[in-house]
C-alpha cells in the first residue's frame, strides 16, 4: 500500500528522499475527498520542517501542506496544480514539490511505510 522507498510524516505527507519529491498520502487523499485546488510554494523558497508551505482544497475543506523536512524548494510540479484530481487517482505518484533538504539528520525522524500504516489504522 505505502511504498517502502518513501518516508512519511504524522501529517500525512510522503517524501522520496532519493529525489526530494513529496506529496500527500493515499490515506490523506481518501480523507479529503475530491481534490479541486492546490496552492504550492515557489521554487527557491526555504521551508521549515513541520511548517505550512501550501494548501490543498477538496470539496470538503482546505487543508495545509506541511514541509516534511527543512530545505529549499528545488522543483514545483506545475502540471499537478492544473490537474489536482490526479492526487485522488494516484496519491503516491503525484509529487507536488521537490525539496533539497537542509539537514539530512531530520530524515531520521520520519516514519517508514510500516510505521505510517500503523498510524492510519
Amino acid at each position: 500500500m505505502y511504498p517502502q522507498t518513501y518516508k512519511y510524516t504524522n501529517d500525512h505527507e510522503w517524501i522520496d528522499l532519493a529525489t526530494g519529491r513529496m506529496g500527500v498520502t493515499d490515506y490523506a487523499q481518501k480523507q479529503l475527498g475530491d481534490i479541486v485546488f492546490l496552492e504550492l510554494p515557489e521554487v527557491g523558497k526555504t521551508v521549515k520542517k513541520g511548517e505550512q508551505m501550501g494548501s490543498v482544497e477538496s470539496v470538503k475543506a482546505v487543508s495545509e501542506i506541511f514541509a516534511p523536512v527543512s530545505g529549499t524548494i528545488a522543483e514545483v510540479n506545475a502540471g499537478l496544480a492544473e490537474k489536482p484530481e490526479s492526487i485522488n487517482l494516484d496519491a503516491h505518484g503525484s509529487w507536488m514539490v521537490a525539496i533539497t533538504p537542509a539537514d539530512p539528520a531530520e530524515a531520521q525522524e520520519l516514519l517508514d511505510a510500516a510505521q505510517y500504516a500503523e498510524l492510519t489504522k
Partner: protein, 490 residues
C-alpha cells in the same frame, strides 16, 4: 425529441430580442443627446446582452425560482455554527419606516438624530450584554469584525510597547476565518490542540504563551458546542504575559443574558447581528459584525464614533489613535436597526430565555440521537451538537449521504465536515426558534436515515430524489466553474 424545459432556463435564455416590459408615454420635452454633456469615456455604447422580457415573464421567472428556495421561513435550518434563527417580521417593519429607510448617510448630524439614537442605544445594549462597553458598529460581518478587532489589538500593543508582538494562538477547533484575520494583521498563527474533552487545554496554552504572543483568539462556546470552562484561567495566563484575549462571538447565542465575556476575561470580541440578534442571514443579509471591547480600547475604535454631547448626538471623527474607518458610512444600518428592534422586543427576560431554549433544544437533539449516531463529545453541550458518521461508515454511508437524504425528508442539512477535528462531522444547531414538534420531526427524520443506512444504503447514495436536481458533480463544479453565461454561437 425532447423539448428543453423552459422552467430550467436562465433569464438570458428566456430573452427575445425586442420584447419589452415597460410602456413609456411620449416625451413632453425635446430629447437632449448625452454626447457632449457626458465625457465620452463614461458613455456606454450599447446594452448588448441584457435580457429582454415582458413584465409577467420576468415575474414568473423569479417567482418560480423563489419556490425552489429553502429558507428559515420554509422549515428548520439546523446549520451548525451559523445560527439560522427566525427573522421576526416586526424587525422588517421597523427597517422600512420612512424616517430610517430614506435617511441619507451623509445627512448632517442634526438631521439624523433618530438614526444616531438607534446606533447609540444599540452600542449601549451590546456593551451591557457582553460586559464590554467600547463598541463599533461598522464591521459588515463576522470576519470583518475579527479583522477590525485584531487591528485594534495590534494598535493597542504598538501604542503600549512600541511593537505589536509576533504570534497569535488559536485552538484547532476554530473557524478558518480566525487564522486568516490574524494573518492579515501581520501575525503568525500557532495552533493549540484541544484536549480530549473538546476544550482548550490550559496547560498547553501556558506552555505556548510567551512574551512573543500578542494574544489568544478563541470561540466560546467553541465550535464543538462546548463551553470553555477554564476560560478565566486561560485569560489570566494570557494577561500575565502581556497578551490580549480575542473572542469570536459566532456562538454568543448560547450566552446572551447568561454570561458576559467581559466578566470571564475577554478583552475584545465581535458579535454577529445576523446570527445572535436575528437579522437576515445567508443571501438575505447583509451581515453585521460589531466589535465590543474593554475601555482600554476606546482610543483605537474605528472612526466615526457616535458620542453624546450637550447639543445632541454627533459623529466624532477627531480620534488620533483610531485604526481609521473600516466601512463606508456607518456599517449596515438596516441590520443595526433590526438588531435593536429584536433586543427591545425580547427584553432582558426574553434574551435570557432565548439562550436557554437554544441550549435546551440542542441537548434534546443530542439525547434523542445519541444511540443512532456517534457523539464524539457526549456530554452536556451548549447551543449546538456534533455527531459523526462513524456508525454509518460500517454500511458504506457517509456524512454527505446523510445530509443529502435529509433534503428528501424536508430539512436543510446541518453543517457537514466541520469542525475539522471531528471525522465526518454533522453539526446541528436547532436555535431557540424551533418548538418541540419541529425538533421531533427532525429527530424522526434522522432516526429514519440511520435505519435506512443499515437496511437500504443505496437509497442514501442516490439522495436527494425529491428535488428538481439530484446530486451535483461538486468536484467538477469546483475545478472548472462556469461563472458567466455566454451566448451560444449561431
Amino acid at each position: 425529441m425532447t423539448t428543453p424545459d423552459h422552467r430550467d432556463q436562465l433569464i438570458f435564455e428566456l430573452s427575445t430580442p425586442g420584447r419589452k416590459g415597460y410602456s413609456l408615454p411620449a416625451h413632453d420635452v425635446p430629447p437632449a443627446p448625452l454626447e457632449g454633456g457626458v465625457p465620452d469615456g463614461l458613455l456606454r455604447s450599447g446594452l448588448a446582452g441584457f435580457p429582454e422580457m415582458t413584465e409577467v415573464g420576468l415575474v414568473r421567472h423569479f417567482t418560480r425560482l423563489s419556490t425552489w428556495n429553502y429558507g428559515v421561513d420554509t422549515g428548520m435550518y439546523p446549520l451548525g455554527s451559523c445560527t439560522m434563527k427566525y427573522n421576526p417580521k416586526v424587525n422588517e417593519a421597523a427597517a422600512r419606516m420612512r424616517g430610517f429607510a430614506e435617511v441619507h448617510p451623509l445627512a448632517p448630524d442634526e438631521a439624523a438624530q433618530g438614526a444616531l439614537a438607534i446606533m447609540h442605544a444599540l452600542a449601549g445594549m451590546l456593551g451591557e450584554i457582553t460586559g464590554l462597553p467600547t463598541v463599533s458598529l461598522q464591521p459588515a460581518a463576522g470576519a470583518h469584525g475579527e479583522l477590525t478587532g485584531m487591528m485594534m489589538i495590534r494598535k493597542r500593543l504598538i501604542t503600549r510597547d512600541g511593537h505589536p508582538r509576533k504570534l497569535v494562538l488559536i485552538p484547532d477547533s476554530a473557524h478558518g476565518t480566525n487564522p486568516s484575520s490574524a494573518h492579515l494583521c501581520g501575525y503568525q498563527v500557532r495552533e493549540i490542540k484541544s484536549c480530549a474533552r473538546g476544550n482548550l487545554s490550559v496547560s498547553v496554552l501556558a506552555e505556548a504563551m510567551t512574551p512573543e504572543v500578542a494574544g489568544l483568539m478563541l470561540t466560546n462556546p467553541n465550535t464543538l458546542g462546548m463551553f470553555e470552562d477554564e476560560i478565566c484561567d486561560a485569560a489570566r495566563i494570557v494577561h500575565e504575559k502581556g497578551g490580549l484575549v480575542y473572542c469570536d462571538g459566532a456562538n454568543m447565542n448560547a450566552l446572551i443574558g447568561k454570561a458576559r465575556p467581559g466578566d470571564f476575561g475577554v478583552d475584545i470580541m465581535h458579535l454577529n447581528l445576523h446570527k445572535t440578534f436575528s437579522t437576515p442571514h445567508g443571501g438575505g443579509g447583509p451581515g453585521s459584525g460589531p466589535v465590543v471591547a474593554t475601555r482600554e480600547f476606546e482610543p483605537f475604535l474605528p472612526t466615526p464614533v457616535v458620542v453624546a454631547t450637550r447639543d445632541g448626538l454627533r459623529l466624532d471623527y477627531d480620534r488620533p489613535l483610531s485604526i481609521g474607518r473600516v466601512k463606508a458610512f456607518h456599517g449596515n444600518f438596516g441590520m443595526i436597526l433590526r438588531a435593536y428592534a429584536y433586543i427591545r422586543a425580547l427584553g432582558p427576560k426574553g434574551i435570557r430565555e432565548s439562550a436557554e431554549n437554544a441550549v435546551l433544544n440542542a441537548n434534546y437533539v443530542r439525547a434523542r440521537l445519541r444511540d443512532a449516531y456517534e457523539v464524539p463529545y457526549d456530554r452536556v453541550n451548549m447551543h449546538e451538537v456534533i455527531f459523526s458518521d462513524h456508525k454509518q461508515n460500517e454500511y458504506g454511508v457517509t456524512t454527505l449521504d446523510i445530509a443529502k437524504r435529509l433534503i428528501d425528508l424536508g430539512f436543510h442539512p446541518p453543517t457537514i465536515y466541520f469542525p475539522l477535528i471531528v471525522h465526518g462531522a454533522l453539526m446541528v444547531e436547532p436555535t431557540e426558534s424551533e418548538g418541540l414538534d419541529e425538533l421531533d420531526r427532525f429527530v424522526e427524520a434522522m432516526l429514519q436515515i440511520a435505519e435506512e443506512a443499515r437496511t437500504n444504503p443505496d437509497l442514501l447514495k442516490k439522495a436527494p430524489v425529491t428535488t428538481r436536481r439530484s446530486r451535483f458533480d461538486e468536484a467538477t463544479a469546483a475545478r472548472k466553474p462556469i461563472l458567466k453565461w455566454t451566448r451560444p454561437v449561431g
